[in-house]
């Protein structure tokens, strides 16, 4: 993938399984956000192909819900209006989906805020509304690019558990991009670890921890072991070439 004149990604080969919570973790600037845009068909790879269910994707992939680090809510629409936007655009404003929109909002604790405007919400609430918008059409794939990156540490932890709840309920295939190793292990079935730019996949780690996971799982030996492995990969280059 050539982005401008810089090589952003180099020989990335990934296979995400259906219903899987798959996370890409890597240092900032390694091209992981580019990878998400590629997965969504919003950028075209300079070489290679994106296959979904075995078929190549050309142009924007419209069977995925997306949420970015910035909520990108439309500030002239209410919370509910924002969540209903994808339905409006697809012209599927049926009773079924309206009910689903309201149910999603109440699942993430936004019931009673349907008629509020984004400027009246906290950062975390906006992020939750954005995730509801990504889920409302009941599409098979959910793409998340550091959705909690801008939240403070405590609400980030709450939101991670909320996302786990949603995922266990909905069983979407999730592709999460993050630079937070702890978040990756807490949420994922598998984690791909990326190297700094130009990004390559160093390894893919399977996380075998029972669900639902709680925040205190990060104190278990198994979790610490995963964390150690992933960090070792992420920091291998710097320590390896530097002080050894």
């Amino acid at each position: 993938m050539n982005f401008g004149s810089t090589l952003a990604l180099d020989h990335v080969d990934l296979a995400v399984r259906e219903h899987e919570f798959f996370t890409i973790v890597g240092p900032s600037g390694c091209g992981k956000s580019t990878l998400l845009l590629l997965a969504a068909g919003l950028l075209a790879p300079s070489a290679g192909a994106l296959l979904i269910e075995g078929r190549p994707v050309r142009g924007a992939y419209t069977s995925a819900g997306i949420a970015f680090q910035h909520h990108n809510l439309l500030e002239w629409r209410s919370v509910l209006g924002n969540v209903l936007l994808p339905l409006e655009i697809r012209r599927i404003e049926t009773e079924h989906y309206l009910a689903r929109a309201k149910r999603l909002l109440s699942l993430v604790g936004l019931d009673g805020f349907e008629d509020h405007y984004p400027y009246q919400l906290s950062g975390g609430m906006r992020q939750r509304a954005a995730i509801c918008r990504a889920l409302v059409c009941d599409l098979p794939l959910l793409l998340l690019d550091e959705p909690f990156g801008a939240l403070d540490a405590l609400s980030r932890e709450e939101h991670q558990l909320m996302l786990q709840d949603l995922w266990m309920r909905e069983r979407k295939t999730v592709l999460l991009i993050t630079h937070d190793v702890r978040e990756a292990i807490l949420l994922s079935d598998r984690i791909a670890v990326m190297s700094p730019r130009p990004g390559r996949i160093l390894d893919t780690v399977q996380i075998d921890l029972p669900r639902p996971r709680r925040q205190d799982i990060s104190e278990t030996p198994a979790f610490i072991d995963y964390s150690r492995r992933i960090r070792a990969m992420l920091f291998a280059r710097e320590t390896g070439s530097g002080r050894s």
Binding site: F68, N72, I89, Y117, Y119
Partner: protein, 262 residues
């Protein structure tokens, strides 16, 4: 209570200025031809209102027509620049450069080209109001964040849907900021144009009054022109209020784009 607190200081200040003016003129015995007392200006405005009204209509229609021309051309031009990369690259730098050019300097030339009719006034008003509208249209239409565009594409939105559901509503606050600036500019244009070539209108009346040494009436003309300006600005602001949610205006009035273009 808080409303009163917000309104009171500017009211008191304006009143104090008027009182100082009135008292100063009286105390220093300033002759009317240099600076008339505000009470005399108001008196002239009231007693001569039929004269002022007669000259208000031509000025008002020149502003209105010139402004509508500027709005249509400015908006279209801005859309072309915002949506066509090639044309945008070609036109925009020249446009920004010509924005610095003082448009009123064309007033005498417009007389040479178009004579003394309605035309030179319309052109000057349109010319002067055109630039803030184009520039703000371009800035406004480029306000949309790339990620929002990505989201719309991934929802399978058509170009029409993206325009009406995303670009247009996001553009309105900055677009209206441009329209408001243009409204106030158009008063400047009309006065200068009437100075150069007119036999009617408040600008013409002002010139006649000054050359007759009737400074009091001249101040009356300026006051009526100011009222026209307030009405022009107010009407645009009113339409804006109907179309744009209040919480978006607060933010964009303070935005650098709105400030830079003013």
């Amino acid at each position: 209570m808080s409303r009163w607190r917000r309104i009171a200081p500017p009211l008191v200040f304006a009143l104090a200025v008027l009182v100082l003016w009135e008292g100063g003129v009286d105390f220093f015995r300033v002759p009317d031809i240099l600076l008339p007392a505000p009470s005399k200006v108001v008196e002239g405005m009231v007693t001569s209102w039929p004269l002022y009204l007669r000259h208000t209509w031509p000025t008002l229609s020149e502003i209105l027509l010139g402004y509508v021309i500027a709005m249509v051309l400015g908006t279209l031009c801005g859309m072309v620049i915002a949506f066509s990369r090639l044309l945008g690259n070609a036109i925009y730098p020249a446009l920004v450069a010509t924005q610095i050019m003082p448009k009123v300097a064309f007033a005498p030339l417009l007389v040479v080209w178009f004579g003394f009719g309605l035309m030179p006034k319309l052109i000057l008003v349109a010319l002067i109001a055109f630039f803030p509208i184009v520039i703000n249209t371009v800035v406004a239409l480029n306000m949309t964040m790339q990620e929002s565009l990505y989201l719309f594409r991934s929802m399978g939105a058509s170009a029409v849907q993206t325009f009406f559901k995303l670009r247009l509503p996001a553009a309105l606050p900055v677009y209206f900021a441009g329209l408001k600036i243009a409204a106030t500019f158009s008063i400047v244009g009309v006065v200068v144009a009437e100075f150069y070539s007119s036999d009617r209108g408040l600008g013409y009346l002002l010139l006649i009054e000054v050359s007759n040494g009737d400074t009091t009436r001249a101040f009356g003309s300026i006051a009526y022109l100011t009222i026209l300006g307030l009405i022009a600005f107010g009407s645009v602001a009113l339409i804006e209020r109907l179309l744009v949610p209040a919480h978006m205006l607060k933010r964009f009035d303070e935005s650098p784009a709105a400030r830079a273009s003013s």
